[in-house]
């Protein structure tokens, strides 16, 4: 039974209770479905290795079974990793410092960490600006925030197929795939949250599946089932799913009948402000005219 809903406002897109439930369920066999997390986690480690700095104290936000904490160990002078997740079921895996925490209510004091990492977690947060502000505050000055989250083009094939199927069978469509952030929005949010030197870029991962139903099973295994509040509760009707799978196959199958699923990953890098960081000069403080520079070049 679902608990009574405490908040109802336009900002509350995701049902956090459902997010937690889906994660609890996925904890049992997460190792069978973690390939995408490991792939993106490796990309995060690559970014980290490009930075020649030590980060002794690390927060792994939404760390699930500890796949990222494991990958990150031994890099960049890391001494302690605190792994936190919304799901207590994940906390029984692996060792180390563990905390059950809600990303929307970060339970750490100011300047607790040198680095906050997060792999494919923040796309389930309702108040992303609020979470980013809290994460900046737990970082020491000149601490690094390094995160990967799903972007707007994620599961675009599935989204279109479900909408088509639902419109045909039910005369309308409800949200079945999460809304995701856009790479431009993400960069702006970092600035608004008070981070310095923010960078947001993206890449796509295409996964090939035997058929669309296999993709849907995988999403459940990953703990990534739909948790949009306005979703229809209970199971998706069997005929809708079958129709959606048929649409998916028709539009996207290759010669062997396999179908692609697109995942867009947004990578975020930003720093907690510090006086020693490079900053743009104040407007109007330039001494040389650009026109002169261009002339001299001649």
């Amino acid at each position: 039974m679902a608990p009574p809903e405490k908040t109802s406002d336009a900002m509350t897109v995701f049902d956090r209770y459902a997010v937690r439930l889906h994660r609890d369920r996925s904890a049992r066999n997460f190792g069978e479905f973690d390939f995408l997390f490991r792939h993106v986690g490796a990309a995060l480690i690559d970014r980290l290795q490009d930075i020649t700095r030590d980060f002794p104290r690390v927060l792994d936000l939404g760390g699930r079974d500890g796949f990222l904490s494991e990958l990150i160990a031994g890099h960049n002078g890391i001494e302690n990793v605190v792994r936190c997740d919304l799901s207590e079921a994940f906390m029984h895996d692996g060792g180390g410092l563990r905390v059950v925490a809600d990303e929307e209510f970060v339970p750490f004091g100011p300047e607790s960490f040198d680095l906050v990492v997060s792999c494919l977690d923040l796309h389930w947060v309702n108040d992303l600006p609020g979470t980013l502000v809290q994460l900046r505050q737990v970082l020491k000055p000149d601490g690094l925030f390094l995160a990967a989250m799903f972007g707007g083009n994620t599961l675009s094939e599935l989204r279109a197929s479900l909408i088509a199927a639902e419109t045909e069978t039910m005369g309308g469509a409800g949200p079945r795939v999460s809304p995701f952030a856009d790479v431009r929005d993400a960069g702006n949010l970092l600035v608004r949250a008070g981070f310095a030197l923010p960078v947001a870029d993206n890449f796509e991962v295409t996964v090939s599946y035997a058929d669309p139903l296999k993709l849907m099973r995988d999403l459940r295994g990953m703990g990534e089932s739909n948790a949009v509040r306005a979703r229809q509760r209970g199971f998706t009707r069997r005929d809708v799913l079958a129709r959606a799978a048929a649409h998916y196959q028709d539009r996207h199958a290759d010669a062997d009948g396999r179908v692609p699923a697109t995942f867009e990953v947004i990578m975020l890098t930003a720093w907690a402000p510090h006086a020693a960081q490079p900053k743009p000069l104040a407007r109007g403080s330039g001494q040389i005219s650009l026109a002169d520079v261009l002339k001299e070049d001649k």
């Binding site: 608990p3 302690n80 605190v82 936190c84 919304l86 207590e88 906390m91 029984h92 410092l97 563990r98 905390v99 059950v100 925490a101 809600d102 209510f105 970060v106 339970p107 750490f108 004091g109 607790s112 960490f113």
Partner: protein, 62 residues
């Protein structure tokens, strides 16, 4: 079998997720108490559960 203890390193950095105020560690009850929020967060198997939904309301708190 003795229950796992919370790591002192965590006690140094944890705050109440709701008020960001300090927490008092109750070793007997295995709870982290936020006076300001009137909540006691449970510690299970040495793992602090910092969720408002899982916290116990303190006596006298509304």
């Amino acid at each position: 079998m003795t229950a796992a203890q919370i790591d002192p390193k965590l006690l140094e950095i944890l705050v109440c997720p709701l008020t960001k105020g300090p927490l008092k560690y109750d070793a007997n009850a295995q709870e982290l108490i936020s006076e300001k929020a009137g909540l006691a967060y449970p510690i299970r198997d040495g793992i602090p559960i910092m969720l408002v939904d899982e916290a116990r309301k303190l006596d006298g708190a509304e």
